[in-house]
Amino acid sequence: MSSLSTPAAVPESPAGAYTLRRRPMSEKLLDGGFRNLTMGLAALVATVLLAILITVFSGAREAIAEFGTSFLTSSAWDPVNEKYGAFTAIYGTLVSSFLALLLAVPLGIGTAIFITEDIIPSSLREAIGLMVELLAAIPSVVLGLWAIFVMEPAIRPLLNLSHKLLGWTPFFNTVPQGPGMAPAILILVVMVLPIITAIARDALNQVPIELRQGAYGIGTTRWGAIFNIILPAAISAIVGGVMLALGRAMGETMAVTMIIGNALNFNVSLLAPGNTIASMLANQFGEADGIQVSALMYAGLILMLLTFVVNVAAQWIVRKLSLRY
């Protein structure tokens, strides 16, 4: 009876009481076409990822053939003699991101606990949460500008003090002179803090209320409950978030480039200028030619593999370690 049905398409309507609507050919084509279109768009994501891998790898092939694995261990970066090794940058990437996380993880998780565990009024909690989220939205180039002109001069006395007190260790044996590894690590802390805080906060909020009630019911204190019940229940998501933050720290470019000093020579001191793979790419890619482009692509490939491993490990940890309530 539907006005949509075509009489010719219903030869056997049962008793003529109602008719099945037959889909016209145009509608079938449209449905199928739209499905294929969206499928193609979804496939494009995989294509883009593959294209990135292929482009970077094919760009790096020349340098891979030329330098092989010695690229990973040599710290020579010499455009004049065309000798390239990325050890300085790889070391800088790993050290800056690990040390930044070492500082950011307690800060982030502490903040997340502070704004989930009913310590302060909820309006204040939401205000802190909002501020941390807005911090994540500030472009890294603006943070870099701030780091150059405000943060680095402000912490210089502290760095001088650390040089005076700890100058006998190789990690502090250079006089701080502006850009360097230590300010870069501090700006990385500012950049990954919102990620860790946001993920830890979500993880803590998802711990079932019954677990808290049970813990408080048998008479534990707030921090007894946090350390023994709540944190263990949320640990998988928190670890996953920390790994994501590690991936972000490794690939972070602008703020680090502006404050790390982009040194070509290897120096173990945290107060001396350093380099990371990402900042090396940002700094040199525009002016490079010949095998230097290829060497930079090789370094980019290493960065991609590092972040890939970290991100996949993060997903795996979240999936494997998550508790089932």
Partner: protein, 306 residues
Amino acid sequence: MTSFPQVPQAHSASSLFDRGTLFFKPSLGRNLFNSICTSIAGLFATIAVLPLVLVLLYVLVQGGRLITPSLFTQLPPAPGMSGGGIGNAMIGTVVVTLIASLLAIPIGVGGGIYLSEYNRSGWFAQVVRFCNDVLAGVPSIISGVFVYGLIVATRIFFGQSYSAMAGGIALSVLMLPTVIKTTDEGLKLVPQELRWGAFGVGASQVVTILKVVLPAAFTPIATGVVLAIARAAGETAPLIFTALFSPFWPEGIFNPIASMSVLIYNFAIMPYAPQNQLAWAASFVLVVMILAANLLARWITRVNRT
């Protein structure tokens, strides 16, 4: 009957249930530990909020006092010279972000529709979701390297190397995972009854998706898209060797173009005070735009929830 022998408190049954034990004793070890931990957490939260306050303060004060009408209408001055503005960089940021949005939003929403409406758990959907997560973790500078290798070095667009188009494509690579993810998750939240209802009154699948399901998920998708655009507008790393920079007004999308983020980077590391000042002014404009977009995204969520 009143003369009980004095027994050590800890062992007496009466003291175990003595009312006094129910009062809060701050000097108890566990209560001390409790207050110490709470103070540490409060201190950490303060330290976490401090950078935001300081960055915002400096950008708003340092940049805010440089805001003049000529800032929006003039070209940046030659190195070392004072005066001028960031007019070309503002237009450039809008152009590049627009190109990125026009590429990433249709592709991302379409891909998200496929994942949520056609193939929720098949192997192909799993592969696409995995690739999407990996793509989300690719460092932004790598997307610049990718577009450099694919478009800039090959001069694929009319023999042009650096171009606004290349910059827009590099940014779209960064936006794409966010748009797909928010579309996918947003559509999954739409109740199944809506789809059944639409099919029940005779709608085709395309009509169901475009006219019923997609509008129902408008809020989360719009929020995600606005956040992705805001993030793209502030990105620098993918632009420095794709869109490059230009001290002139934009000359079409197949030529190098200025952008505010690259201007901040270039002018921050110059040893001239006027350029540094312009970098602060550009930061002010960029931060105000991005914070406004973030607050807009929150507002979309709040308005549609009530």
